[in-house]
């Protein structure tokens, strides 16, 4: 019998929710690391009981936790994220140079094949990797040093590397995204990088062809077609059919194309999901209606999914790492809100219900499908 485990990072701790394949009854454990901000929790595809969690606080900085038993117990692992060499400067909000300073880990991406190998995306933006189960970390500094680094600038949430995608078909190919620098690709396992932002259009950027400077919020792929990328940019839903070499807009008939999350159906590579948010100044759903929008055509044509979601007076946000899918036959879709609800659909988005509803603000949601 299949099982689903949902890993939820919140502003005040981590929670683990488990259900059988029916996905109707959920057992909730937590808070783990109560009181700390948990930006991300993710399991290893190679060993689903191996979990990694990013734990941080304004008082005590960054801590990394590892579980070897699916989140029942945890151990503190390495938290030394030291930039390679003299880190130099990036651009500050006012355009002046600002020294690179480690702040926190936003995203953990375990290797597809090795439970001891994990990539970490950090603020101020850089990519790190561990080969020893998170005891020690090393920067893949070819990204930060590829040339445009001094021109990167923080978004409103800080200068964070928040998205890491490992190509399941090519172990040497990695995609990452940084707010507000843009998306980048490596074809040599992280040694060298190139910006992949051609076709992105961001208002007020003086040079529309600038290779960096775009506020990418999230990127998603379908594992069977890793060269097709879907992006929620600050504004605009974008699509690339050539591994990011060029992008075109697929926002189509969305009520607003601002938002944070984007994800792809587990079995239908052209079915994608977003949660439109009113604007960059108003981080809540338009008209107070929480709606997931689904496109079955890879973008442009979108339908609102509303059954079971609040359709009045709802003013929560859904943050960039807070949507995930399971891979059961009937694809499950999950997302968490800043109001502390985690909503799930066990029929690809047609019907929704909260599987927990009074958590602290949700920062991230990941899902493991267990056999």
């Amino acid at each position: 019998m299949s099982k689903v485990r949902v890993l939820v990072g919140t502003k005040k701790g981590a929670f683990v929710l488990e259900s059988d394949g029916k996905r109707t009854k959920w057992d909730i454990t937590g808070p783990h690391f109560g009181g700390w901000e948990i930006y991300h929790v993710k399991g290893s595809p190679a060993d689903p009981n191996r979990l990694y969690a990013s734990q941080s606080s304004g008082w005590s900085g960054q801590v990394l936790q590892r579980s070897n038993d699916g989140g029942k117990s945890w151990e503190v692992v390495g938290n030394k994220f030291l930039y390679d060499g003299v880190p130099g400067t990036h651009q500050w909000y006012d355009g002046t140079p600002h020294p690179w300073e480690f702040k926190r880990v936003w995203h953990l991406e375990p290797s597809i094949t090795d439970p001891d190998m994990v990539y970490a995306g950090i603020e101020d933006a850089a990519l790190f990797r561990t080969l020893d189960g998170a005891k020690t970390w090393e920067e893949l500094s070819g990204l930060r040093k590829h040339g445009s680094g001094p021109h990167w600038a923080p978004g409103a949430g800080g200068m964070c590397l928040h998205t890491i995608i490992l190509d399941p078909a090519d172990p040497r190919r990695i995609y990452i995204a940084i707010s507000a620098a843009g998306a980048f690709r490596s074809d040599d396992a992280g040694a060298t990088w190139k910006p992949i932002n051609q076709g992105l259009v961001s208002a007020h950027i003086p040079d529309p062809k600038a290779e960096v400077g775009h506020c990418v919020h999230h990127v998603a792929i379908h594992p069977s077609r890793p060269g097709v990328l879907f992006m929620q940019k600050h504004w605009d839903i974008m699509r690339s059919d050539n591994a990011g070499d060029s992008w075109h807009e697929v926002s189509g008939n969305l009520p607003t194309d601002f938002g944070f999350v984007i994800d792809v159906h587990a079995h239908e590579p052209e079915t994608i999901y977003v949660v439109p948010i009113k604007s960059d100044g108003e981080h809540y759903p338009p008209e107070g209606k929480l709606r997931v929008y689904r496109s079955r055509t890879g973008g442009n044509e979108w339908e609102p999914l509303t059954k079971g979601l609040p359709q009045s007076d709802c003013y929560v946000n859904v943050l960039r790492d807070a949507m995930a899918v399971d891979s059961l036959d009937q694809c499950g879709v999950y997302f968490g809100t800043t109001g502390g609800q985690v909503y799930a659909s066990s029929d690809a988005g047609d019907n929704w219900a909260p599987i927990v509803r009074d958590l602290p603000a949700v920062l991230s949601v990941e899902v493991q499908t267990l056999q």
């Binding site: 009181g35 700390w36 304004g58 008082w59 005590s60 801590v63 503190v76 938290n79 030394k80």
Partner: protein, 100 residues
């Protein structure tokens, strides 16, 4: 023997119940106390001071004998009462709440 009192969230993190007692050879300073503390409890490494610069984290404060020692040099000897274990060395999370 030096006594160190940690805030609750760091005791939880390092799985410590009660005060910490440390033996320190040589001068008893903030640096030697924190070195010994991190050696005994590696989970605390980086939570009190920066890994590289060794600078105290902004919202961590050090008190002892009714004094705020947070701005003292890390190599200044701590009060004799701390060195003798009469008074504890207090690690305090600064009152900086309100943001949620």
């Amino acid at each position: 023997m030096i006594r160190v009192v940690l805030p609750a969230h760091l005791r939880t993190l390092a799985r410590i119940s009660g005060d910490v007692e440390l033996e320190i050879e040589g001068p008893v300073t903030q640096r030697s106390v924190l070195d010994a503390l991190e050696a005994r409890y590696p989970a605390l490494s980086g939570t009190l001071r920066d890994h590289v610069t060794q600078v105290r984290r902004p919202f961590v404060r050090f008190f002892a004998c009714g004094q705020d020692l947070s701005h003292e040099s890390p190599d200044t000897p701590l009060p004799e009462a701390v060195a003798k274990g009469v008074e504890p060395f207090l690690v305090v999370g600064a009152i900086a709440g309100g943001r949620g």
